[in-house]
């Protein structure tokens, strides 16, 4: 074991077993997978993306580019998990990824030897010959070699939840500046959320031996958290990553709820929060960067502060012979802590010649550089620029610190270069966001505390909270000094992006070829495009570019970071909206009743509607549908049409309003009458149709199609509020309040008479076709009756309060037995409307005009109404436009196909001869043949002509005759009877 005794924030009482590549290992509660692997002496954990170089654990946080593993098995497996961010749990199963053959002997490492031929952008210059080889040979090989981890291919078995939180102040990061901010805000009374991606709050303090107010940093963290927990106005959220900053103070957050121990339970694995914050403070700290030297990518070459954290927080001995390579003061703190812990530090190399070594009890070299490393699966030695060779099995590297400015970029703020600390600091931040601590480019704790206090005072007073007593904190921290970027002296390969294998040579080639703007460089070399979004590599890359172009880094510029800060599972973004819960169900009032009668349902928008009602013995849907049609036309049928939009329109100007929103005239509609209305969009294209009934001078009831119920209402409100604000019109959507049933067939009147309360006369004389009125049924239930017909039969639509719908269905079927009453579904409804030549959704597809639909004459020429003006444009108003007509196969045995196109006889089937298309087809049980509706050029003048209905998708051609669209009862005797 490589574990120090009496050091670290782990619970040695709780031993946790886990496996890596099948090897059984153990760690302790408080470990990450990475610390547990290191405790077992395991540095090699994976392979790089392109050259398949051995990769170790490089960092101790979410910036990790190298230690990506495949976590879990079966459907629970999760690719590309950073070993550094996973809290160890019992029975964790981890496997390395992206190698062919064992991890130690990856066969793909041949790429490493071929690397001179695989330089930046090489693939753009080859694989082009022979042409057919790309998809068949080259690309499959490239695809197989690329990628990192694997998906299982099975549905994600986990549950994810979503939630919403509101606060005055969101604090992002619970390190020293975050905790101080939270404490000040909490004491001031503000509603605070403080979130941190780590499972242990405290940030860098947990891995450092800093003293705050003469106590250890770890103790200060503990006390602060205890106090924060005592406040009702504070919510602490560990294991919660604020992954993105969005408009108006909205933040996306991902909380890891369980680690993987509750996979089988229905509790959510992760929760996606949307946090609404009046103000935010970004306290996200900084990430360390590496230095440039030959083969600086070997396992056990690690970031210096991470080495220190592994030692201090997890009690790890990172190596037997540790060397440290730094260009700043922080590397020395690592050296000091390692020495104190009893580790063997063989040498500290500092690039700066002109400093005084902060500690003396160690072998050190000033003004020197590491130029080369050796080792195969782990570093074994380093060579300095003066030729000194040092045996070492762990090299801690510190090239300075990059403030974690990511969230400041999410609204496209561009970071600014800070010369003093050689780093990018936040530029323009999202509105309401303040940045404090290392994230703002301040690196020593005393300055951080000062800055935090100052900025928090301002924020609290802005939020209207009192700032109480100053919290005085003093740390034993010294100001930080870092040397400028310098040129790499190495001859071999020098890595910048460890995951995507981008080296200095790649950048050289890109610049040489003209890809020297930062954005082009990124795209050409893939620098910073890996799963870490370049957290450890971007600034290094820019330094190389700046040296190559001989321009200061601020002139070279930088790319910006995009959300999310760390990757977020697609499953978490979807939450519970998957499977049957993808969208809510809307059920019709007769749904239960229909279910009991074994109805087959169909999705219509969010509605479920009965499609047909199969009877025992019926083998195909056609049998059921034919029966429903025949029985309705023979006697009487009933269909739930509640899904149609219903809008109550009231007011003195309601009539004028209808005149304005419908293309046909409504002003003179008599009270007690219904009229068909065609609604256009203002561009003259048909929008919707339906009927509107007039119950009194100033009260109309409109119906819309099911599909457009919502959009028509929105449109009417626009017309009312924005176009005719002075008119007295009021709108109310009543779609869900009235259950509505179509009762159709020659016996519909007789059936209705049985349920209508006595004295209501619905004879043809007193209640003719297109009449409407308020009625009552079943002894006093108020209802609305409309004599309208979609089926072409003598028919009514009856609307009653929704709560009665179920018992209404029970009763009417009881009474209807003697009329052989049949329930019919949407399929029979569709057949009957096609038999009658009525347009529906397939015809009102947003591309057709009144003229196309054969309704051109209805459109008002005089009044100003929505759509009539633009419907008069030459290209949509001519004689030769498409017209809706009927089609019947000349051979009765053939079935028409919707979506077929029409070609004149004798002409080849190609676009130039395309004359229109078939929109709807049905088998008509009345005519005992297939019939269709469709649009064809000047169709209304071509009745009797035969054309080909071609369906090349199925290589089929059917000769059809153009007919009137009114196949059944063309004169309408039945509906007036």
């Amino acid at each position: 074991m490589f574990r120090l005794e009496n050091r670290g924030l782990i619970n040695r009482e709780k031993r946790l077993n886990f496996s890596f590549n099948g090897k059984k290992l153990h760690g302790y509660e408080g470990d990450t997978l990475a610390s547990a692997l290191l405790a077992n002496g395991n540095h090699l954990v994976g392979r790089s993306f392109k050259y398949h170089r051995p990769r170790g654990i490089f960092s101790s946080g979410s910036e990790e580019p190298s230690a990506l593993i495949q976590l879990g098995l079966g459907a629970n497996t999760e690719p590309n998990i950073r070993a550094t961010t996973i809290q160890l749990f019992n029975d964790l199963v981890a496997n390395s990824q992206n190698h062919f053959g064992p991890l130690e002997w990856d066969f793909m490492r041949v790429n490493d030897f071929l690397s001179p031929f695989l330089s930046a952008g090489f693939y753009y210059k080859t694989f082009m010959w022979p042409k057919s080889f790309w998809e068949k040979i080259y690309e499959p090989i490239i695809r197989k070699a690329a990628g990192l981890g694997k998906l299982s291919g099975e549905p994600d078995p986990s549950t994810y939840d979503k939630g919403f939180l509101h606060c005055d102040l969101l604090i992002i990061g619970a390190g020293p500046s975050g905790l101080l901010s939270a404490l000040m805000a909490a004491r001031g009374g503000a509603k605070v959320i403080i979130a941190d991606e780590d499972f242990l709050l405290g940030g860098s303090l947990n891995g450092d031996h800093t003293q705050i107010n003469n106590d250890t940093g770890v103790n200060w963290v503990k006390k602060t958290i205890e106090e924060l927990i005592s406040f009702k106005n504070v919510r602490l959220m560990p294991k919660t990553t604020i992954y993105g900053a969005f408009d108006h103070g909205i933040f996306g957050a991902l909380e890891i709820k369980t680690n993987f121990d509750r996979i089988k339970s229905d509790k959510p694995r992760q929760v996606l929060w949307r946090i609404y914050a009046k103000q935010s403070v970004l306290c996200s700290g900084s990430s360390e960067r590496s230095l440039l030297f030959g083969n600086n990518d070997r396992p056990a070459i690690m970031l210096s502060r991470s080495v220190r954290q592994y030692c201090n927080r997890w009690g790890i001995i990172p190596g037997k012979k540790i060397s440290i390579y730094t260009n700043n003061d922080d590397g020395w703190i690592t050296a000091k802590d390692l020495k104190e812990a009893g580790c063997n530090v063989v040498m500290v190399i500092d690039e700066r010649p002109d400093i005084i070594a902060p500690i003396k009890n160690v072998d050190y070299r000033l003004g020197k550089k590491v130029v080369e490393t050796k080792g195969s699966l782990r570093i074994s030695s380093i060579r300095l620029d003066d030729g000194t060779k040092v045996e070492t099995d762990c090299l801690a590297v510190s090239g300075g610190f990059n403030p974690n400015v990511h969230l400041t970029c999410h609204e496209r703020g561009r970071p600014q270069w800070q010369e003093k600390n050689q780093c990018f600091i936040p530029g323009k931040t999202p509105k309401g966001m303040e940045v404090v601590g290392a994230a703002s480019g301040v690196f020593d704790l005393n300055s951080i505390f000062e800055e935090t206090t100052l900025k928090m005072k301002k924020i609290l007073s802005y939020l209207g909270y009192k700032h109480r007593k100053v919290i005085k904190l003093t740390a034993d921290h010294k100001p930080y000094n870092v040397s400028a970027f310098s040129k790499s002296l190495a001859k071999g390969k020098v890595w910048i992006d460890l995951q995507n294998d981008v080296t200095i040579k790649d950048i050289k080639i890109a610049v040489q070829e003209g890809f020297h703007s930062v954005e082009l460089l990124k795209r050409y070399t893939t620098l910073g495009m890996a799963t870490d979004q370049g957290k450890t590599s971007n600034v290094l890359g820019l330094s190389v570019l700046s040296i190559l172009k001989n321009k200061p880094i601020e002139e070279v510029g930088t790319t910006i970071y995009r959300p999310p800060f760390t990757p977020v599972p697609i499953g978490a973004f979807a939450g519970r909206s998957r499977g049957k819960h993808f969208k809510p169900f809307r059920l019709t009032p007769s749904h239960q009743w229909a279910e009991q009668r074994n109805a087959v349902f169909v999705e219509t928008g969010n509605w479920l509607r009965a499609q047909w009602f199969p009877l025992a013995g019926e083998r195909t849907w056609r049998e059921s549908v034919d029966r429903e049609v025949l029985q309705t036309r023979e006697s009487v049928g009933i269909c739930d049409v509640t899904t149609l939009g219903k809008i109550d329109i009231k007011g003195r100007d309601a009539g004028a309003f209808l005149n304005f929103v419908y293309a046909n005239n409504f002003g003179k509609l008599a009270v007690g009458k219904v009229r068909y209305g065609l609604m256009l969009r203002d561009d003259g294209i048909a929008f919707d149709d339906g009927t509107t009934a007039r119950f009194s001078e100033d009260h109309f009831v409109m119906t819309t199609t099911t599909a457009n119920a919502v959009t028509v209402f929105r449109h009417l409100e626009f017309c009312r509020q924005c176009l005719k604000p002075a008119w007295d019109v009021h709108l109310l959507s009543t779609t869900d309040h009235w259950a509505q049933f179509a009762i159709a067939g020659p016996n519909s009147r007789a059936l209705l008479s049985e349920i209508l309360d006595p004295k209501i006369d619905i004879s043809n004389e007193s209640f003719p076709f297109m009449a409407c009125g308020k009625v009552s049924i079943f002894n006093g239930i108020e209802a609305r009756l409309f004599r309208i017909s979609f089926s072409g039969e003598l028919a009514y639509e009856l609307a009653l309060p929704r709560r009665y719908a179920s018992s209404f269905m029970e009763h009417i079927f009881e009474i209807g037995k003697k009329f052989n009453l049949v329930p019919y579904g949407t399929e029979a409804l569709g057949v009957m409307r096609i038999e009658k030549g009525h347009a529906a959704g397939n015809e009102l597809n947003g591309q057709t005009t009144a003229n196309n639909l054969g309704l051109g004459k209805m459109v008002s020429k005089l009044n100003d109404c929505i759509g009539n003006t633009m419907s008069e444009r030459e290209k949509i108003d001519g004689e030769a436009v498409l017209k809706l007509v009927g089609f019947a196969p000349t051979n009765k045995m053939q079935s028409l196909v919707a979506g077929s196109h029409f070609i004149s006889k004798g002409k080849p089937a190609k676009l130039a001869n395309d004359e229109g298309w078939m929109s709807s087809v049905a088998f008509s049980p009345m005519l005992n043949k297939s019939i269709g509706l469709g649009f064809i050029k000047a169709g209304d003048q071509r009745f009797g002509e035969k054309v080909d209905s071609v369906n090349p998708l199925n290589k089929e051609v059917i000769e059809v005759e153009i007919t009137s669209p009114h196949f059944f009862d063309p004169k309408g005797d039945r509906l007036r009877g």
Binding site: P116, G147, P155, I570, K583, L911
Partner: protein
């Protein structure tokens, strides 16, 4: 310099020192035959076809940022020609044919990968509409296949056939559709145009037009005035801004469309899949990332970034149709600004100002159109008459009512 495997081998042996510049970086001349405003995909392809097909080489491409910085660098890389309307289908089919020969034309591997584009349908009316569309494609000489549920199951067993809110009933497939490495398209065209003498001028912002008596004779730029016989605007996303300096108001709104990519994964998705009951489409790149997208954010924006509701909406669509991607993690999201036109279709036309031409309004279909857009724009610039496959893309079509509205939603750009 011709690129080839042999060249890569030789360069590899000698330290890759011999790779020359992919294109020159010239200062602008005083005069050109044609100035193309916009060094994105369409501008560069226009320059490429002007110089390579129409033999007009005294051409400058003016780009305000870096080459390819427009939507060519921020899209979801899909190519297809599965359109319905007769004004569109021949154009996009022409484009697809140009894609098929692109690498050999430009000597640049832009990784055109004809993986097949699958549009799933979930209801009978949707199937009817897809049959109509598939037949329109076939009548125009494109390819199309209607897959029933069983055929789709065989091809994409990971779709949610069992538990879907909206049943998966089949799909319309275009086998010749697929994906392309988007940045490489810009680079290939740039290199090809540059080799014929086209000046590609980066970091050159066009601030206005030089217009006198209804004739445009050049542009005012951050690098001074530059004269040209013809000035061709090609700046989708910023069309309204650029054209307003010529006093032209366009039938266009700018909207943001977000796109997403996951972490790299081993191959799991062969085709391009489009969900028919929500907003989600996806493909897997050669690097292994799932590249996906959905609907517009829906409000006018030039911000090149979007908001959370659409991110969630898209991922919900993804999980509804292929619940296997739940554990794939979204790595990056970004937004591009789209020229959303009033009928969802583009413009390649002259303006009422002599010498000033306009190409724009590509909505979110611009990437797949890149070759044909450039070809047809070059044709218009060279001959002053529209290319036969782009005849419908007129700026004044709303006056006459010659709408090209694939989706049938009318003059409401955010719905197209």
């Amino acid at each position: 310099m011709k690129y080839s495997a042999a060249k890569i081998f030789l360069e590899g042996l000698f330290g890759n020192r011999g790779w020359g510049k992919a294109w020159r970086e010239p200062e602008p001349k005083k005069n050109y035959d044609v100035i193309i405003i916009g060094g994105g995909g369409h501008g560069l392809s226009t320059a490429y076809y002007l110089s390579n097909v129409y033999n007009i080489r005294n051409v400058a491409v003016l780009e305000k940022g870096w080459l390819g910085s427009g939507n060519i660098g921020r899209n979801t890389t899909i190519i297809r020609s599965n359109y319905l309307l007769p004004e569109n289908e021949p154009f996009y089919e022409f484009s697809l044919k140009l894609w098929e020969g692109l690498e050999q034309d430009t000597n640049y591997n832009s990784m055109v990968s004809q993986r097949g584009v699958i549009n799933i349908f979930h209801s009978d009316p949707q199937r009817d509409a897809f049959v109509r569309r598939g037949n329109a494609m076939l009548l125009s000489g494109a390819d199309a296949d209607l897959l029933d549920e069983n055929a789709l199951r065989k091809l994409c067993p990971y779709l949610d056939f069992e538990n879907a809110r909206f049943p998966v009933k089949g799909a319309l497939m275009q086998k010749r559709g697929g994906t392309v490495r988007h940045d490489a398209v810009a680079w290939g065209y740039a290199r090809g145009a540059d080799m014929k003498g086209v000046d590609i001028i980066q970091n050159c912002n066009v601030e206005g037009f030089i217009i006198k008596n209804g004739v445009c004779s050049g542009v005012r730029t951050s690098k001074g005035d530059i004269r040209a016989k013809k000035v061709a605007s090609c700046v989708a996303g910023s069309s309204s801004q650029v054209m307003s300096t010529a006093g032209i108001r366009l039938p266009i709104e700018s909207h943001v469309l977000q796109a997403f990519v996951s972490e790299g994964l081993k191959p799991i998705l062969d085709n391009v899949i489009t969900f028919g009951a929500g907003h989600f489409y996806v493909s897997q790149s050669d690097k292994g990332g799932l590249v996906f997208g959905g609907d517009l954010d829906g409000y006018n924006s030039y911000a090149q970034r979007g908001n959370l509701p659409v991110v969630e909406d898209v991922c919900e669509g993804g999980m509804a149709i292929m619940p296997m991607i739940g554990r794939a993690r979204l790595l990056r999201m970004w937004g591009g600004v789209m020229d959303m036109s009033m009928d969802g279709s583009p413009f390649i036309d002259r303006t009422h100002i002599d010498g000033l031409y306009f190409n724009g309004g590509w909505c979110y279909g611009g990437f797949k159109a890149t070759p044909a857009s450039g070809y047809c724009y070059a044709h218009l610039l060279a001959t002053d008459s529209p290319h036969p496959v782009a005849r419908g893309y007129k700026l004044d079509r709303f006056r006459t009512g010659s709408l090209i509205d694939e989706k049938g939603v009318g003059a409401q750009p955010n719905l197209h």
